[in-house]
Amino acid sequence: MDARVSAKIQDVFEEPACEHNQNKSAKEKKKGCTKQLSPGAAAGGCAFDGAKVALQPIVDVAHLVHGPIACEGNSWDNRNSSSSTSQLYRTGFTTDINELDVIYGGEKRLFRSVKEIIEKYDPPAVFVYQTCVTALIGDDIEAVCKRATEKFGKPVIPVNAPGFVGPKNLGNKLGAEALLDYVIGTEEPDFVTPYDINIIGEYNLAGELWQIKPLLDALGVRILSCISGDGRYREVAYSHRAKAAMMVCSKSMINIARKMEERYDIPFFEGSFYGIGDMSETLREIARLLVEKGAPEELKARTEALIAVEERRAFERIAAYRPRLEGKKVLLITGGVKSWSVVAALQEAGLEIVGTSVKKSTKEDKEKIKELMGQDAHMIDDMTPREMYAMLKDAKADIMLSGGRSQFIALKAKMPWLDINQERHHAYAGYEGMVDLVREIDKALYNPIWEQVRRPAPWDVVAA
């Protein structure tokens, strides 16, 4: 393995702020957090996928994938991360290497590709993503990026996370490392305020950031940089001047939060935008950290006032659904988003959670779930599609909330389903988002199609 990638992976595995890591021996830590994948029974993205997910929401950057057509051609423009300005991040750039490149090396094509992109599109920076094939043949993307940066006078950033080094989650962190190594701290903001924060690990899926931003705007809190949703290259580059940071609960970029605390003295807290209680707690934490770092004390009182109004508004609207949703059973299969923060939100609407996946949750998460759902909480470590189908078919759940991957398990069982993963088109963050989520669940449960699709054809009904 490329020594640099290997060192990075070790570094990421050593992450002291990671709760998974804290109870491990030195030997276990070195082995890393990557579960051995089972061939023929595996699902999920690769490290390259993870790095791309994490960084592509930086909207004004040209994201160039160095590899064969599969890596970009089969996957581009497939996520619903929104931009308020540039659409360049949705342009698919790839070197699309051919057989001769595999034999003679793809570095020249990569360099020429960077040149073409800068000439035609003039982005503030180019991110170059390494993939399996180009890593295997030994293309040195760091060297090419260094040379291109010198030659074109523009940051060309190597993102060294080829797919075969591990799963998506590791790729998130390797992508984050590229920002720490090459981007963060390289530019200065025009001005700073005592109310500047970073939001780390938020990807603005379906524009969720914009459900939060009005709250912060109203408090006078400025998002100096969101890493990486609706981000601009320059904002990430000067993010080291923030006073405090929020790490969004998925932990996908915990290394950025911790290292920025270490390097730039930016304290961070771990919070969530999902669920009314969580949202309020997040606003309180932001105010607390900013005040600690020198913002006027009165910020806290204003925050409490805003929370009081927003919570009341949200609960009033959700209360209207409670009679319709009370006691309905939900099967919750989530990936990156921490299960417990969604659990709390659903309970606010009177829904009963009959099972939740904890595949990616930490010990602490599991404790929180128990706290919320009781000791006999049905935590599912690794549910097979067949089991999910059976559970729905036997009506042990009324609706499944999951990622798009398992959508058809529910639909083919003729059961309602709601997308809560990254390809979703609805925004569920903040107070507004929770009202929307409840409305969507209601919409799904009470649609008249369920009765129709479950009704047998007349000729299949045996006369009694």
Binding site: L37, S38, A41, D49, F93, D122, G163, G166, P385
Partner: protein, 481 residues
């Protein structure tokens, strides 16, 4: 007619192309009770799976050998062995169909050799499950090539001479561009002549969006293993699309079944040929139903030519689809102002356009703009280009992720051609320009003449009509910025 050229760019921008192994796995989706698998990193499968899910809105059975860096370097025998055993245990399919990827081809895994070892070692465990393999490096060819190679691999693995021929049986080899609805239409046409169609691969059985009674981890339908072993019993093989040449020829070579390749089945004359052939093959007249449909198509052509004729249309699609669409457009009197494709094929020379470019959607956008295109025809990824150009987009091919009904789009036969032409005409109708008082300004020269000034030779640049030729501006200004 057309000259075929390759893009000279180093960087592909807005890919049109998808990879070979994905095309191969898509073909494997048309085999019954099958588990397609990519031999590569888990991301290879994950990306392909998500793409097909978004296209069909269906669960997609597709597995991975989950190669990592170490297993790649040491060779994938262990991973393939484990994968095969795991799949056998968990899903028990009739067939495990493996496509290699760029990763394992760069290393040079001898998968055929591995499979021999695995079959020897686990012969008893694997009873009832066949394994086929096709070599499909990502860095060669495109989706359509992968489909063609996969079908050829299946023919190689299963086709055998049959002692008894069935005069009513024909093999139908549909190209990658045919939808489940297209296949159903062709089957119906064939059956109308008293013949029976054996379709390989048959995605109409698996990807047509039906609701099975039970959960199935493998494909939900398609060509059965028994049918594959009976390919040699057919009277003839009909292949649709040039990419199917090799598989059709292989069945003839191995089993002596004669074949005929129909490069397309969209367009009046193309469908005429097909029905005439079926009539000769079966010895039966063309049924009334199709005579009626032919007449309906002729009527639609008459009605639609007002709107489609002389329109500038820009196409980007895989070769077989590109050929079917561009020829039909030209037959309606439209101008094919741009034709971009993904890979080489013998049909490309027949595309009614000066040049066919093996390129990407940036190329399409530039050429469409230069040619004054009034309609873009490509897959869903053309949406950004169409928006920038301010022209409508007709979505065809894979992926079609921002519209429903991809499986049920019908473009073959008289009915399919009718739907296609009406669709185009309707887009132009909806987009129809309403004339305004400003539409016909007099040129400077005429106005000066009318004002009594001396008509001079043109020095103001205002002569030659009021509309600037769109061909001048070839490079789009900062696309996407």
């Amino acid at each position: 007619m057309a000259t075929v050229i390759d893009s000279k760019k180093a960087c592909t921008v807005n890919p049109l192309k998808m990879s070979q192994p994905l095309g191969a796995c898509y073909a494997f989706m048309g085999l019954d009770n099958c588990m397609p698998m990519m031999h590569g990193s888990q991301g290879c499968t994950s990306f392909g799976l998500v793409l097909l899910v978004r296209h069909f809105k269906e669960a997609i059975p597709m597995q991975t050998t989950a190669m990592n860096e170490v297993s790649t370097i040491l060779g994938g025998l262990d991973n393939i062995e484990q994968a095969v055993l795991n799949i056998k245990k968990r899903a028990n399919p009739s067939l495990i169909a493996i496509a290699s990827t760029g990763l394992t081809e760069t290393k040079g895994d001898d998968v055929d050799g591995y499979l021999n070892l695995i079959r020897k070692k686990h012969g008893e465990t694997l009873v009832g499950t066949d394994i086929v393999y096709v070599s499909t490096p990502d860095y060669v060819g495109a989706f359509e090539d992968g489909w063609g190679k996969a079908v050829l691999a299946v023919v190689d693995a299963f086709a055998q001479p049959c002692e008894v021929r069935d005069d009513h049986l024909v093999n139908l080899l549909p190209g990658a561009h045919l939808t489940p609805a297209d296949i159903d239409e062709l089957r119906e046409m064939i059956e109308a002549f008293g013949l029976q169609a054996r379709v390989l691969p048959d995605i109409s059985g698996s990807m047509d969006g039906h609701i099975p009674d039970n959960f199935t981890p493998t494909t939900l339908g398609g060509t059965t293993p028994d049918a594959l072993r009976q390919l040699g019993a057919a009277k003839a093989t009909l292949a649709i699309g040039a990419r199917m040449d090799a598989a059709a020829a292989a069945i003839e070579e191995r089993c002596g079944v004669p074949f005929r390749v129909f490069d397309r089945l969209t367009g009046l004359a193309a469908v005429d040929d097909f029905l005439q052939y079926l009539s000769e093959l079966s010895g039966r007249p063309v049924p009334h139903k199709y005579r009626r449909q032919r007449s309906q198509l002729q009527d639609v052509m008459l009605d639609a030519h007002f709107w489609v004729g002389s329109k500038n249309m820009a196409f980007a699609a895989e070769p077989d689809l590109l050929y079917a669409l561009t020829t039909t457009a030209a037959e309606m009197g439209a101008h094919v102002v741009a034709a971009v494709t993904t890979t080489h094929s013998r049909v490309l020379e027949g595309v009614p356009c000066v040049e066919v470019l093996v390129g990407d959607l940036e190329d399409l956008e530039i050429r469409a703009k230069a040619g004054g295109a009034q309609l873009l025809i490509t897959h869903s990824h053309g949406r950004q280009a169409a928006e920038r150009l301010g022209v409508p987009l007709h979505r065809v091919g894979i992926p079609m992720f921002d519209r429903l009904g991809a499986a049920h789009m019908l473009m073959v036969g008289y009915r399919g051609t009718r739907e296609l032409i009406n669709g185009w005409a309707n887009i132009f109708l909806a987009d129809e320009h309403q004339n305004t008082p400003q539409d016909w300004p007099l040129p400077e020269e005429s106005r000066r003449a009318a004002s009594g000034a001396h008509a001079t030779s043109c020095s103001t640049g205002g002569c030659g009509g009021s509309s600037a030729t769109p061909a001048d501006d070839v490079v789009p200004d900062a696309v996407g910025a």
